[in-house]
């Protein structure tokens, strides 16, 4: 863990100075009548509140180091991630919440276990210093992967009922009838991750790497961590999007026979 002597701690003056930036943005928006103040204000308050709570929880967890508390926080984080993904899907088909929740839970379990035990090789399996930040990062990706894939698939199926029924009438299975839409949805779910990987190190330094460098870590060590994290993020976004489309498209069909009228 980085020593506090290797980085400059932020005091309340620094925090106020940082807040001035968002206040300035809100003020400019208000002055020019651009209407972004409400969104910016709510987002800033939510962001600061959520992060402060998380910071306090993490401080508490790091002190106690109890496995059940760490798992509890992970389950909560995963639940919120699933709910946030679900919320982003317009007019979701019945069962979408369950599909997204199952996929986010399974993908998180696989990714976090693999990262902590095979890649980082932590000494204590529930070490909150590794488990919580790693889970936090990959969950953010799961939210993107699941939400974008679910949204794209839902709209795509509804916009192409005629073609899908043409496939079915020719004897295709639902999966074959939706294949193009499954591909498009997975592709869309991966765009943010792929884009971030493409520009990493050139256009911007990724958040985790920047954070480690600011905290005093060797830049090359921070880079190695970041590369592994990117691979884990793309695994998370990819596997979540793939599981979501595989399970979700079935919710639009009655067996292998026909489209569910109320779903489309």
């Amino acid at each position: 863990m980085p020593d506090s002597s290797t980085y400059i701690q932020l005091d309340w003056v620094s925090m106020m100075a940082g807040s001035a930036l968002i206040l300035l943005t809100i003020a400019i928006s208000f002055w020019r009548g651009l209407g972004a103040e409400k969104d910016l204000f709510i987002a800033s308050v939510r962001c600061a509140g959520q992060l402060l709570v998380m910071g306090l929880v993490l401080r508490y967890l790091f002190r106690l180091r109890e496995w059940y508390l760490v798992i509890g926080v992970l389950v909560l984080m995963t639940g919120f991630a699933a709910w946030e993904s679900y919320r982003r899907v317009r007019k979701p088909v019945a069962g979408t919440l369950w599909v997204i929740s199952a996929c986010v839970f399974v993908a998180t379990l696989i990714s976090v276990s693999y990262l902590t035990h095979v890649v980082v090789r932590v000494r204590v399996w529930y070490d909150p210093q590794y488990l919580i930040p790693l889970a936090g990062m990959i969950l953010g990706q799961a939210v993107n992967g699941a939400a974008i894939a679910a949204e794209r698939l839902t709209q795509s199926i509804r916009d192409n009922v005629g073609d899908i029924e043409t496939y079915l009438a020719l004897g295709a299975t639902p999966r074959r009838a939706c294949r193009k839409h499954l591909r498009d949805a997975v592709h869309a779910g991966l765009i943010p991750t792929v884009t971030a990987m493409m520009v990493a190190g050139i256009v911007k330094l990724p958040g985790m790497m920047t954070g480690q460098i600011l905290a005093g870590a060797d830049p090359f060590d921070a880079t190695l961590y970041q590369i592994v994290i990117f691979f884990a993020l793309s695994f998370m976004a990819g596997i979540t999007a793939m599981m979501v489309v595989e399970l979700l498209h079935r919710r639009f069909f009655v067996g292998d026979v026909r489209l569910r009228r109320e779903a489309v």
Partner: protein, 247 residues
């Protein structure tokens, strides 16, 4: 005694939708014999297209029985049912593929070894062979309609179900499609069940006809007789444009 083999038979078939106070299809019974031409005629909203969808299980009936040959359609694997009975939908969609892509897809999905070359298939539906590698976007509606017919014929179905096959065509082209369908029925022995609200197409197709209204059979018989009912009959009212209804 001559045994008539039924390709499709419907017994007291009904279809209702939750929230709708009247059935879409209400106690329909009829049979289609092998190689027969039968046309369902009626105004919009009379349940004609739904009947076709019920036969291939794109909708699930709420009552009655539908047989394909001796088999209840629910007992057949759905792929086999749709190989036996091919539905040609009203909107001729070529699924973003070329003509060849469509025929390849139909061959792959039907799982039946081709008995006709693509060239022969296209000539059967009056299309020039040089269209094979054209994209669907480059074809006229009439050409697309013919490609969907060729695509449906790949699996050598026992019956073709045609949903308003000429609704998007000029009157001149309608007669061409009717002639083509009659030739297909005669040459290939395929039963053809057509749904239309066009008396002209119904007359050109000939064969037997059923007149539907509000999901029920109002009249049935040889098409020529059906179309020459006297002025008081519901068919005559429809022909005179006095019946306009939609669900």
């Amino acid at each position: 005694m001559v045994t008539v083999l039924h390709c499709i038979s419907l017994e007291s078939v009904a279809f209702c939708i939750q929230g709708l106070d009247h059935p879409i299809v209400d106690g329909i019974s009829f049979t289609v014999a092998e190689g027969e031409r039968l046309t369902l005629l009626g105004p919009s909203g009379s349940g004609k297209s739904t009947i076709l969808r019920l036969i291939v299980r794109l909708e699930e009936r709420t009552a009655g029985a539908i047989h394909s040959g001796p088999d209840l359609i629910d007992d057949l694997p759905v792929r086999d049912l749709r190989r036996r009975i091919a539905l040609v939908p009203q909107e001729p969609s070529l699924l973003g593929l070329t003509v060849r892509g469509n025929l390849d897809l139909a061959a792959e999905l039907s799982g039946v070894a081709a008995t006709m070359s693509y060239e022969e298939l296209l000539s059967r539906v009056d299309l020039p062979v040089d269209l094979l590698d054209r994209s669907g976007r480059e074809l006229s509606v009439g050409q697309k309609q013919r490609v969907t017919l060729a695509r449906a014929l790949i699996g050598r179905p026992q019956a073709l179900l045609l949903d308003e096959p000429t609704s998007a065509l000029d009157p001149g082209l309608q007669a061409g499609i009717a002639g083509l369908l009659n030739r297909l029925a005669d040459d290939l022995g395929t039963a053809i069940l057509t749904v239309t609200h066009s008396p002209q197409l119904a007359a050109s197709l000939g064969g037997r006809g059923i007149f539907l209204r509000r999901g029920r059979i109002e009249d049935a018989g040889e098409m020529q007789q059906l179309l020459s009912r006297d002025g008081g009959s519901v068919v005559a009212q429809f022909l005179n444009g006095e019946l306009r209804e939609s669900s």
